[in-house]
């Protein structure tokens, strides 16, 4: 490409080639970083390959997958039953209170119970997590 006559070679302030930033925020360009800034502070693939990480992930999924399937089934069975078996759901069981309302109210209890179980399980994950991360200090 030909250079126009009024070409100005002054580096653009704040551009990636500007080596002496004045009041410029953000990251430094790659060639400016010191060795300690350049590397990733953690060895991600080593952590990912560690058996304790696999155990942590497995422990989480062992709760999350069945938990999610359970609450979705429990919840979705409410509109399915109410939609397709309205006569059954209208049966009064406690005074005038019918199965439909009791089942709806049980969804609140179900939500709080699953929530509490999750918090209890998560405390164990936090401990596993702390033990794992202690093996991989910031380098």
């Amino acid at each position: 490409m030909s250079t126009p006559e009024n070409f100005d070679p002054t580096p653009i302030s704040g551009g990636p080639t500007d080596v002496s930033p004045l009041g410029r925020g953000g990251e430094k360009p790659a060639h400016e970083r010191t060795a300690s800034e350049d590397g990733d502070p953690y060895d991600w693939s080593a952590i990912a390959a560690h058996p304790e990480f696999a155990a942590l992930k497995r422990a989480k999924l062992r709760f999350i997958i069945p938990g999610t399937i359970f609450f979705l089934l429990f919840y979705m069975s409410l509109p399915v039953l109410v939609g397709f078996f309205p006569a059954l759901m209208k049966t009064a069981v406690w005074g005038k209170v019918n199965i439909a309302y009791i089942f709806a109210l049980s969804q609140f209890v179900m939500t709080w119970v699953v929530c509490a179980l999750y918090v209890r399980a998560a405390k164990r994950w936090d401990r596993m997590n702390a033990e794992l991360l202690a093996k991989f200090p910031r380098r």
Partner: protein
């Protein structure tokens, strides 16, 4: 009409506005820098964020809309209460902690982590802006109508007033002011809900048996033949006129339970806390508060039908009873002028807090995802640019919503707009969030296809339904709620987009890093030092 007396309601509105403006003034001094402005310095405590999530979530649609629909349609209205709460299990189990661990300010931070930044962020930003804008117009229209009826300010000035106040909170106070507005509003709302419920129970001699016996023969204080409001089917029952009622009910339930975990204004709240553990605690707080609130809708929703005359409820533009007015009118009947003023002020606070949260998430997404990362390739050209762009965007988003809300007037179908927001959130956002956390093979094309399929299918299906361009008889799509079709389409789009295109080795090689970050919180941005 412009000359109105200083009523107790107006006085309480002014008191609320004054308190929140003081908070905004003090927040504004701290709102410097991106993390402070967008994420309140990540310094919000777990219980505070729990209250703020609750305050962000329990919109005018929840408080006024649900009490109205339960009063008028009974059990089927209570289904909204159930769905809005159970949805928090989706947030808690699947989304909150990985999102907090792997992102900075927006949902797209997580999506774009190992994919190509620009296409993914552009689509995610479009989806965020769509959800937030539709949700906001719905709230604005509701706000205008309510303020018009409560203190007699005409529709257009009422909408402008709400819009300007919301802009003051967002533009000057950022996320910190927005958070405190939501916390105060949540406390006011819970106090109002408890007081209303207590007064309703008092009218039934504090006997649950008497209460439910009366609900089972609710006759609107003798002005209608008694109906059993505990029986399902008044809104979604299968009938000759509505043969797909049951399916519509299921579709609604699906949209509610999966939509919340894709609502951008809820997701950004998890960036305001120091770490994932606090994010978890805040979901638990939110679940407790929101759960109690929705249990209480039993009393002031069903209870209204036993205590109010049909003629007490003002009519809307179409001449039907306006469900939104049920809670304030009930407060007037039970507690007189002063309590009516309090509940009206709560409704006003509710609307303001929610629109502020929506504007905040929309402008954050535009500034952070679209401006900084799509247009400027991930770098601020000068310090503070991102926050500056967000403030400008908030102004435009606010002005556009005010203009659209006034143009549409109070006749717009707010339920359609909120339904659309939930449908887009569940169909477009949730599938790609889940796939990027849990599926290694997931690639950029898959993310863009999933977002597009969910976004387009929910909009098209709503337009083709009776809530869109058609009436109940001629609508080509027979359901009012698109979730049962559009959510599978969103997942399918993301899946097919991925497996039909080449594997993205770079994305897969970064899966380990994202996986470690999202599961352990290593490298996540913590609280900023003060």
């Amino acid at each position: 009409m412009l000359a109105f007396a200083i009523t107790p309601a107006l006085g309480m509105f002014i008191a609320f506005v004054a308190i929140t403006l003081v908070i905004t003034y003090f927040s504004a001094r701290k709102a410097t820098g991106s993390a402070a402005y967008f994420a309140a310095g990540r310094s919000i405590k777990g219980w505070q964020n729990g209250l703020a999530v609750a305050g962000d979530y329990m919109s005018a649609a929840s408080f006024l809309g649900i009490s109205g629909i339960i009063c008028l349609k009974g059990y089927d209205g209570f289904m909204y209460s159930v769905g809005f709460l159970v949805a928090y299990l989706t947030v808690l189990l699947l989304v909150a902690e990985p999102l907090r661990n792997a992102g900075k300010y927006t949902m797209a931070d997580l999506l774009a982590y190992r994919l190509k930044q620009r296409p993914v962020r552009a689509m995610a930003s479009l989806s965020t802006l769509t959800v937030s804008t539709f949700y906001m117009i719905a709230q604005m229209v509701g706000a205008g109508g309510i303020i018009e009826q409560l203190i007699g300010v005409p529709f257009a000035p009422a909408v402008i007033g709400v819009g300007v106040l919301m802009l003051v909170y967002v533009v000057f106070g950022g996320m910190l002011a927005t958070t405190w507005v939501q916390i105060i509003k949540a406390i006011l709302l819970m106090a109002g809900a408890f007081a209303l419920s207590w007064m309703v129970l008092a009218r039934h001699d504090y006997s649950l048996t008497a209460f439910f016996n009366n609900v089972a023969v609710a006759d609107y204080a003798g002005t209608k033949p008694p109906v059993n409001l505990l029986d399902p089917g008044m809104a979604y029952g299968a009938s000759a006129a509505n043969p797909y009622g049951a399916l519509d009910f299921i579709s609604l339930a699906l949209g509610l339970v999966l939509g919340t975990a894709g609502l951008p204004h809820i997701l950004v709240r998890f960036y305001t806390v120091p770490d994932a553990k606090t994010a978890r605690i805040s979901v638990v707080w939110a679940t407790a508060i929101i759960g109690v609130f929705y249990v209480l809708t039993t009393f002031f929703g069903f209870g209204a039908a036993t205590l109010l005359k049909m003629s007490d409820i003002p009519l809307d533009a179409k001449g039907l009873p306006n469900g939104n007015m049920v809670a304030p009118v009930l407060a007037h009947v039970l507690g007189g002028e002063f309590f009516f003023a309090f509940i009206s002020a709560v409704a006003f606070a509710t609307i303001l807090a929610v629109v502020a949260g929506l504007t905040m998430s929309a402008s954050t997404s535009f500034a952070h995802d679209f401006w900084t990362n799509v247009i400027h390739h991930g770098r601020e050209h000068r310090p503070g640019e991102e926050v500056f762009v967000a403030r400008i965007t908030a102004f435009f988003v606010g002005a556009a919503s005010i203009a659209i809300a006034i143009k549409l007037g109070s006749s717009v179908n707010a339920a359609m707009l909120v339904g659309l927001a939930f449908a887009v959130a569940a169909s477009a956002n949730l599938p790609v969030i889940l796939f990027s956390i849990f599926w290694k093979r997931f690639n950029t094309t898959g993310a863009v296809c999933g977002l597009a399929a969910g976004l387009v299918s929910s909009i098209v299906l709503i337009l083709l339904s009776k809530n869109g361009l058609y009436d109940a008889k001629t609508a080509p799509f027979p359901l009012a709620n698109p979730g049962i079709v559009s959510i599978p389409l969103g997942f399918l789009g993301a899946y097919l987009g991925t497996i039909l295109t080449a594997r993205d080795m770079e994305a897969e090689s970064k899966f380990d890093e994202l996986s470690v970050r999202s599961q352990t919180g290593l490298g996540a941005e913590g609280a900023t030092a003060h």
